[in-house]
């Protein structure tokens, strides 16, 4: 079975700084890493591999430095890692990104299952997975919290919550799934594999490689139907509150009154 995992390299969100006066996001202080949600996607692939046997390819689109995240993916158990990198890919919104990734996937061959994470921590749109599924014309399921079974032709998954219900869904392969954090616990790589990952070749795909699958004006900034008009960094909201320290009794009485007026339920 061939599994493709889509990952995104994101800045470590705890270290990104936001300047509300200048309206700029400073990522320079932040290290890049694999989007935490994508770690669960990769682990799902590894779990399938361990149980049923599979060949795992990890694909990302980004600048050259994103190689680092792919090496990390290799360390954790990917068999092949591929970077789509080309300055003409840059400035892509989710639509252009999905179209480009889909072209890359077609270029790489056929896959039985595509796995992605629930969303990225920086963009938070959760759009790319479903869009890729559409561009490749395959069914998809989001919020997958368990894979009940998978074979050459079919996968059965549990969807955590859709329209207020849990759903067990069976899909013919090829299909795409977006997994939640609850599906597994991402495992640490071994030191041996980590050290080996520093020496592997990372396959690279440029726009020229994709001439059969995508036109230049369908990717990057040019191929993006949404444009950012401006960025605003909001100031935190303030309320004038009563803050108590040491004076437990006054605090207790104050909130007792508040709660009493509501506790008619």
């Amino acid at each position: 079975m061939n599994i493709l995992v889509l990952i995104k390299e994101v800045p470590d969100m705890e270290k990104v700084k936001f300047d509300s006066e200048k309206g700029v996001v400073n990522r320079s202080s932040a290290e890049s890493e694999i989007n935490p949600f994508d770690m669960n996607a990769l682990q799902s692939a590894i779990d399938i591999k361990n149980k049923y046997g599979a060949d795992i390819t990890v694909l990302t689109m980004g600048p050259l430095r994103a190689e680092k995240s792919l090496r990390d993916a290799y360390a954790r158990g990917a068999d092949n890692v591929v970077l789509m990198t080309d300055c003409r890919f840059s400035g892509a919104d989710t639509c252009a990104t999905s179209r480009t990734l889909s072209a890359g996937i077609k270029y790489l061959g056929t896959f039985d299952l595509i796995i992605c994470g629930e969303k990225s921590v920086d963009g938070d749109t959760a759009q790319v997975g479903a869009e890729v599924a559409e561009f490749l014309d395959m069914p998809h399921a989001y919020y997958v919290e368990n894979i009940n079974s998978i074979d050459k032709t079919e996968i059965e998954v549990v969807i955590e919550n859709i329209c207020g219900s849990k759903q067990v869904r069976r899909m013919k392969l090829p299909a795409l799934i977006g997994v939640t954090k609850n599906i597994n616990l991402p495992k640490l790589p071994t030191v041996n594999r980590k050290l080996k990952s520093l020496e592997i070749d990372v396959e690279k795909i440029s726009l020229d490689d994709l001439y059969e699958h995508i036109d230049a004006d369908e990717t990057g900034f040019k191929g993006s139907p949404t444009k950012i008009a401006k960025i605003v960094i909001p100031n935190p909201v303030e309320r004038t509150g009563h803050i108590y320290k040491d004076d437990y009794v006054t605090f207790k009485e104050a909130i007792k009154k508040e709660i009493k007026s509501e506790s008619t339920i």
Binding site: E14, L188, T190, V191, N192, K194
Partner: protein, 460 residues
């Protein structure tokens, strides 16, 4: 406490900063040692929160003149009961002493008021690209003044040593209220006895520390944590010795019994990932460059493999490393309800395997067991006596003494980092000669002739 003392305190620090309400005072009486080991606090004590050196000086003058006991309280994260007032005392809380006076990047020093917490310091240093402070006793609520007078250690002592190594200057208030400046930003300073070093580790018995000049360091940018599982403790220990000999210096090498790793992880809602082996090491490394980090990693890995380790695991992401560290540090939450008495003995690193075997044999002899965690590369072992049916067993005192004697067999010490406090006064006599203790007492008398500052700490 007499009302005239309270009135005097109010006149010095203001009404808001003198606390006599028992419910509010309660949180100022104890540190973090097990309830079963706590000295009993004198509940007539009051809490006073001065804001500056002048106020402290006035309090000390008044106390000295009227023979009132003063106990200094910092973050309350100690583990020897040193800050518990056993006589009726003025508890002098340094919580309002929380100003970061200066971060001097040119001389790489930080000038801090004593009540600045480690958390505050690290947060502030975060704003200065590339600076850091390495000593980390585990709880970031610890205050710098407290860390100084207890000579705090922690896991990173392997690479960075203990607090003593990093303090360059201090402002202190003597028991008679006089203010002294000791040391400063100077790197070399050989004028006379080093009284500052004497005060470091004095557990609040010689003077009130009000300011600290702390050395800060360029921060290692890259770090990783290796989990190395071994079949048995001897292999793990041999690996540690060889790592130390090889010239690579890890930031920390932590050991704890396998079941503590496994069960603590479970308690935290996660999973300990090293399935194989019975003796796991957590080796934390930090380096200036990524290449160096991986080179260190390779060397350590090779040594582990040579000593029959199972497949070693690599945590490179901050979140992964934080999780491992959390499993290491939260083990105490997992066992605290069953512990009656805990130890932090230290022995020379090479003697650890033999010492640990002795500890386990001793426990066996009493039909009990002991939980071991250790800063293994600096020889510091935490072990314990577990409760029997929720009660301290009747053999506890005897077992304790035998544990200490075992530790002396290897030229060890009864406390590697927690200090003597009020807890180990009796035990200190097992380790130190009368001559040595008498010298200490003489020093105490010189600083504090009326014995008003934290009496009954270290010795009676």
């Amino acid at each position: 406490m007499e009302s005239k003392v309270i009135d005097k305190m109010i006149s010095i620090v203001g009404k808001d900063y003198v606390i006599d309400d028992i419910e509010q005072k309660m949180s100022y009486f104890y540190d973090e040692i097990e309830h079963t080991m706590r000295p009993k606090a004198n509940e007539d004590s009051i809490v006073v929160k001065p804001k500056d050196t002048d106020e402290i000086s006035m309090i000390m003058k008044y106390a000295n003149k009227n023979n009132l006991t003063v106990v200094i309280r910092g973050g309350g994260t100690g583990l020897s009961g040193a800050c518990t007032p056993i006589r009726e005392s003025i508890i002098l809380s340094t919580e309002r002493f929380n100003k970061i006076i200066e971060i001097d990047e040119d001389n790489m020093v930080a000038v801090l008021e004593a009540g600045v917490t480690l958390f505050q310091l690290l947060e502030e240093l975060g704003k200065y690209e590339g600076t850091g402070f390495p000593v980390h006793p585990g709880d970031e609520g610890a205050q710098i003044g407290g860390m100084a007078v207890t000579n705090a250690g922690g896991a990173r002592a392997v690479k960075h040593g203990v607090m003593r190594k990093h303090i360059q200057g201090m402002e202190v208030v003597l028991p008679n209220g006089e203010v002294l400046e000791l040391g400063g930003k100077l790197l070399k300073n050989n004028a006379g006895y080093n009284l500052m070093q004497l005060i470091i580790g004095s557990e609040g018995t010689l003077a009130v520390v009000t300011k600290v000049v702390l050395k800060i360091y360029p921060k290692d940018k890259y770090s990783a944590t290796i989990v190395a599982p071994f079949k048995n403790f001897n292999d793990a220990s041999n690996a540690v010795l060889q790592i130390l000999k090889s010239g690579v210096t890890p930031l920390a090498v932590e050991y704890q019994d396998k079941h503590l790793f496994v069960e603590t992880a479970k308690m935290l809602g996660t999973e300990w990932q090293a399935n194989e082996g019975n003796a796991d090491l957590m080796i934390i490394i930090s380096e200036k460059t990524e290449d160096l980090l991986y080179e260190t990693c390779r060397q350590i890995n090779d040594i582990c493999i040579k000593n029959n380790s199972y497949e070693t695991l690599f945590a490179g992401k901050k979140s992964e490393q934080d999780e491992l560290l959390l499993i290491r540090s939260q083990h105490y939450e997992y066992i605290k309800d069953i512990i009656g008495h805990s130890f932090d003995t230290a022995v020379p690193v090479a003697d650890i395997p033999a010492y640990l075997k002795d500890l386990k044999d001793l426990a066996n002899e009493y039909n009990t067991f002991t939980n071991i965690t250790a800063h293994i590369a600096d020889g510091n072992i935490h072990s314990d006596i577990v409760l029997v049916d929720g009660e301290m067993p009747n053999y506890a005192e005897e077992l304790k003494e035998r544990i200490f004697k075992t530790c002396f067999k290897y030229n060890g010490t009864i406390t590697g980092e927690h200090g003597i406090g009020k807890l180990r006064k009796k035990d200190l006599k097992l380790q130190k000669s009368e001559t040595e203790i008498n010298l200490m007492k003489g020093i105490k008398k010189l600083f504090d002739p009326n014995n008003i500052l934290n009496p009954g700490t270290i010795f009676d």
